[in-house]
Amino acid sequence: MIRLTKAKALWIYETMVRIRRFEERSIELFQAGELPGFLHAYIGEEAVAAGVCAHLTPKDQITSTHRGHGHMIAKGLHYKGMFAELYARATGYCKGKGGSMHIADQDLGALGANGIVGGGIPIAAGAALGLKLKGENHVVVSFFGDGASNEGAFHEGINIAATWKLPAVFVCENNGFAESTPRATHQAVQDIADRAKAYGIPGIVVDGMDPQAVFEAAGEAIAHARKGRGPTLIEAKTMRFLGHYVGDPGTAYGHDKEVGKWLKRDPLITFAETLEKKKWLSKKSIDAIHEKVNKEMEEAIEFARKSPEPELDDAMTDIYATV
């Protein structure tokens, strides 16, 4: 068992604050009409990204989803490039050509958010294969949701990774809804982790609202992968506190009724209390973290606002490396 140290715990807390604040500000800016496109907010699921990525080095890789801001922040991407991308500016991570759903940074091991449900799973298997062939002791974590667990890509990707014992960890963020469809009406299994049996790999159910539980389960799975023992399927039971996208009230499919009991388990509140009890955090240090994050966030937003838009010619670059 990998124990949660004070340093890791504080990192996880601050990361969750960073994700929460990023999403809150994104929503405000989107609603103020400053951001084009649409947003899928990660609010409520922060414990999963932070708890898992606490184990990763910049050389480890992740694939992510349309709801990917949290994973990117936890993987070390900085706000400036992310906000600039949301603002569709030339200084964004994707030069304004990807947007919210495609933020990526190869240098930091972020193989991209992905607009296709389940699309990242086979890619994660392939990245793990590449790392294995290169003889590098890095792992790949693939984040996806309960909806993706019904995609063929889920089956193909995990089966390949399992068969070849690749250094991958598949993290299913089960938030109970595939867009608007409640989980019980899109699959018969109670626990998606049960599907791990079908691939001959370990399947673990973990409380996705508890950063420590996520940290410990992920730690085990990642160590397992690093030792060359193959992938693990982790199912983190969690909840998005908002609708599928910013602007979806969640009322049409019962999300609004379901979300109430989860709000009491908001990891930002519960984990702060836990750390306060351990004397690892105080009201004062919590305020200091929030203040620091807020300051960085506003600076990043200003940077994005002041950044230039891409030139028209930029539309025609980066399609090919060489033509």
């Binding site: 699309g119 392939g126 060489t322």
Partner: protein, 326 residues
């Protein structure tokens, strides 16, 4: 020059590139011990081992996704789709992932991978194993599409494709695998994006791809006896396209016939026709003709198959029709 089979040329290209570059590896269905459904990877398992010659589950989107993931972390995978028809199962990975990541990520993504596959009719493989679907992939910005018609082109272009930093969709032809052709012993890289004039002529330009190149050459032999001189251009790469070679020929001959094994409507030939109509308009002396497959799924019956798929005689008839006088 020595002559080898098209299939052997593929093996040689893979072999040489795997020997040259450790980051090159193969993955696909039945490619290891079995040597590939069309025997295009025979001997490579023994030489390079199971780590680099990987049999995969029958999981086409898994194969392409795995190839992309490996490319993203710096490998140069060569993924094999046993039949181009099976690309339909992997379309998300090919179209939404492989073709897009470089652009979506603002240029910061290694996407050096080759998807090898084979298409075409002629063996009674019927509707799900004999299609020519190249136009689907040419239509997607982010992919390069290569379609060699000879052993020499197959080898030189496959080597170039493996070394290319972009995803290359490499389409072989099942009937060409057992055709022999001259291939130099020494290393030859044939650059992507360069057409070849397979035969020079003055009366009419035939732009032909894959198996239609050979059929067109045979047609041109016959037409020569009637005093008709056909110029045959094989683009070899459908994208990037060597438009200059095609246009120069049309400007010379004033007549254009395009032939491919894919069905006519919305086929790749329509793109060439549009190119000629715009950039060689004032040089056209006759309407542009297309000799393509009939617009039907590929039938199983040999009799029906050869009726549907264009042959040498269809090319000859097409040419004669264009040169008709009152």
């Amino acid at each position: 020059m020595r002559e080898i089979l098209y299939r052997e040329a593929i093996i040689e290209a893979l072999d040489e590139e795997m020997a040259r570059d450790d980051s090159v590896f193969l993955l696909g269905e039945d490619i290891a011990e079995f040597g590939g459904s069309y025997k295009t990877t025979v001997g490579l398992l023994d030489k390079y081992g199971a780590e680099r010659v990987r049999n995969t589950p029958i999981s086409e989107q898994g194969i392409i996704g795995a190839a992309l993931g490996a490319a993203l972390v710096g490998m140069r995978p060569v993924a094999e789709l046993m039949y181009i028809d099976f690309s339909a199962v992997a379309m998300d990975q090919i179209v939404n992932q492989v073709a897009k990541v470089r652009y979506m990520f603002g240029g910061k993504a290694n996407t050096s991978l080759v998807i090898r596959t084979q298409g075409g009719a002629g063996r009674s493989s019927a509707a799900q194993h004999a299609q020519s679907l190249e136009a689907w992939f040419v239509h997607v910005p982010g992919l390069k599409v290569v379609m060699p018609s000879s052993a020499r082109d197959a080898k030189g272009l496959l080597k170039a494709s493996i070394r290319d930093d972009d995803p290359v969709f490499f389409i072989e032809h099942k009937l060409l695998y057992l055709e022999k052709g001259a291939v130099p012993e020494e290393e030859e890289i044939i650059p992507i994006g360069v057409a070849e004039v397979k035969r020079e002529g003055g009366d009419l330009t035939i732009v032909a791809t894959s198996s239609m190149v050979g059929k067109s050459l045979a047609a041109a032999e016959e037409l020569e006896k009637e005093g008709v001189s056909c110029e045959i251009i094989d683009p070899r790469t459908l994208f990037p396209l060597d438009t200059e070679t095609i246009l120069a020929s049309i400007r010379k001959t004033g007549r254009l016939l395009i032939t491919h094994e894919a069905v006519q409507r919305c086929g790749w030939g329509a793109e060439i026709a549009a190119l000629a109509a715009k950039d060689a308009f004032d040089y056209l002396d006759a309407p542009i003709e297309r000799v393509c497959a009939k617009e039907t799924p590929v039938p199983f019956s040999p009799k029906l198959e050869s009726y549907v798929i264009p042959g040498k005689d269809d090319v000859i008839a097409g040419v004669r029709g264009m040169l008709e006088t009152v």
